[in-house]
């Protein structure tokens, strides 16, 4: 896989520079991999992050109505505690900091250590862990589920709650309710290649797809033959609906997330089926997002996320946000 890059060791650094050069509303904390809003806000601060390679996540969600800081790790590697701590220090005001973490051992441990350090400095820090991926059954694994694209809904809704002036505990509670209500699952048509390794993350035959993949090029839960888009959507949607307590009459938000190389046209073909299926079940779609929100480099494939809405979540989801990758 050819890469448009210079020194592989400078990849993340140059990407971050490229982001702030394009978007002066973001600032990079000097000497760090942390992006913050150029204009600090007086409210509960939201910090998220993770490995690089998921762009526009997470820097693309920093801005009014969403995050205050995004910490970038190496490619697909959790950021280190010192970087997370820098982010916390930079954005915290009097009202505390919420860390939004995806449920991977590495992310959880590194954010946890940063939170411990920040607490020792007298900063009030809360942490929520997103585990929206229903591909992996919860019951058989004490580790819980992965956090994938549904995380973006958490950024949006917790962001709106913070912007509304809610205190840290309330923002954290709302974030947790969002996490409880969001369920996702993904499929890959082709793998991705981490720049440093140059090797595809896995091999797929021309007639195979990998069901239930994460967002780091990890293999999925099973491999199946390729089939029409509607069938693929049904496989994901069925599993999501089995896991989410979504009933006829419920309101939901839909995120059809491209993993990197899948054309938008294919995502819309998938969305057509999703909308039809939900309509058949009398589920009301309040909002649909189709595009690249949480990618896996140039992996071909997509994920579906369904967020079950209540009155408050709907209001917060629709609240204004002005970031690179999410506007409303």
């Amino acid at each position: 896989m050819k890469k448009l890059m210079n020194e592989v060791g400078h990849y993340v650094d140059e990407m971050l520079d490229g982001i702030v050069l394009a978007h002066p509303e973001l600032r990079r904390l000097p000497g760090t991999t942390v992006l913050v809003r150029a204009k600090k806000a007086d409210k509960v601060a939201l910090v998220s992050g993770g490995g690089s390679g998921h762009e526009p996540a997470h820097g693309g969600f920093v801005g009014p109505g969403m995050l205050d800081a995004a910490v970038a790790g190496e490619m697909f590697t959790s950021p280190t505690p010192d970087q997370i701590l820098e982010a916390i220090r930079a954005v915290h005001g009097d009202q505390g900091v919420l860390l939004i973490v995806k449920n991977y051992t590495g992310d959880v441990m590194n954010f946890e250590m940063a939170a411990e350090m920040a607490t020792m400095e007298g900063i009030h820090v809360e942490q929520v862990v997103v585990d929206d991926d229903v591909a992996v059954q919860n019951s058989t694994h004490t580790i819980g589920r992965r956090g994938i694209a549904g995380t973006v809904f958490v950024h949006k809704i917790a962001g709106a709650a913070a912007e509304a002036g809610y205190p840290l505990e309330t923002v954290a509670q709302i974030a947790k309710r969002t996490i409880a209500n969001v369920h996702s699952m993904g499929v890959a048509l082709s793998p991705c290649t981490v720049p440093a390794s140059g090797q595809p993350s896995f091999q797929l035959a021309d007639d195979e797809i990998e069901i239930g993949i994460g967002i780091h090029g990890e293999p999925g839960v099973r491999r199946e033959p390729i089939r029409p888009a509607d069938d693929v959507v049904d496989t994901l949607l069925d599993t999501i609906l089995e896991n989410a307590a979504i009933q006829a009459g419920d309101d939901v938000a839909v995120l059809v997330n491209g993993l990197g190389a899948t054309p938008l046209s294919e995502l819309y073909i998938a969305n057509r089926r999703i909308a039809k299926r939900l309509a058949e079940q009398s589920v009301n779609i309040q909002q649909t997002r189709v595009g690249e929100y949480m990618t896996s480099l140039e992996m071909a494939g997509f994920s579906i996320s369904l967020l079950k809405l209540d009155h408050e979540l709907t209001k917060l989801l629709n609240a204004p946000a002005t970031t690179i990758a999410w506007r409303s």
Binding site: T77, T80, G106, M109, Q199, S201, E218
Partner: protein
């Protein structure tokens, strides 16, 4: 018995060994994880190794602390906080000492194992580096001597190979369920190498496990 210069030599030897094994560790992690364990480890230990050379001290605690903080700020992922925890525990145990004996080494290794369990919350059998640290620490505890160190290295290597048959219950490989069986856990392999190089620096003459032929 472990002097500061031996400690520095250990970090150097371990770093060299990681360089050699990076493709293997990445490959193992590719099969059941995200393919970066070798990359993560070499990045971290190269940084630690460099830092050590530029900050000489005769305090094993300070040296361990330096390694811990460097790993913490350069590795990321799961292995960063885990290996950092190992050296943080060493540091607490060896504070102010310029050399330590087999007993003190044993105590530090046991502490490190406990620290890993606290940090990672994994149990033995869940296909993580705990599957290596636990029997190795136990071996040393039962025989806190130079020969115990050698034995621990052998036990560690066997345990790492043994992770092949396990189904992962923690870490990224756990998402694969049954599909995680059949591949050795990369963090267990890097841990076994840790014990091998550690014993070799202190005792010398340790035979190096031919990992690439053994596990791939």
């Amino acid at each position: 018995m472990l002097t500061t210069s031996a400690f520095v030599a250990f970090i150097q030897a371990y770093t060299n060994r990681l360089d050699e094994l990076q493709p293997l560790l990445d490959q193992l992690d590719n099969q059941i994880g995200d393919g970066d364990h070798g990359t993560n480890m070499t990045r971290g230990f190269h940084a630690a190794n460099e830092r050590l050379t530029s900050t000489p001290t005769d305090d094993l605690g300070a040296l361990s602390q330096t390694v811990a903080m460097t790993l913490l700020s350069s590795v990321g992922g799961a292995s960063g906080p885990l290996y950092a925890t190992v050296f943080l525990r060493f540091s607490a145990q060896w504070k102010g000492q310029s050399q330590v004996d087999a007993k003190e080494i044993t105590e530090a290794i046991v502490q490190a194992r406990d620290g890993l369990v606290v940090r990672g919350k994994a149990h033995v059998g869940e296909k993580t580096m705990i599957d290596v640290w636990s029997p190795a620490a136990q071996t040393l505890q039962e025989n806190p001597t130079v020969s115990g160190l050698l034995k621990a290295a052998t036990v560690a290597a066997e345990a790492a190979v043994g992770t092949r048959e396990l189904v992962a219950g923690k870490g990224r490989a756990a998402y694969l369920g049954e599909r995680s069986r059949g591949t050795c856990d990369p963090g267990s392999v890097s841990s076994a190498v840790f014990f091998e190089e550690f014993a070799n620096v202190i005792v010398g003459g340790v035979e190096k496990t031919p990992w690439p032929t053994l596990v791939s």
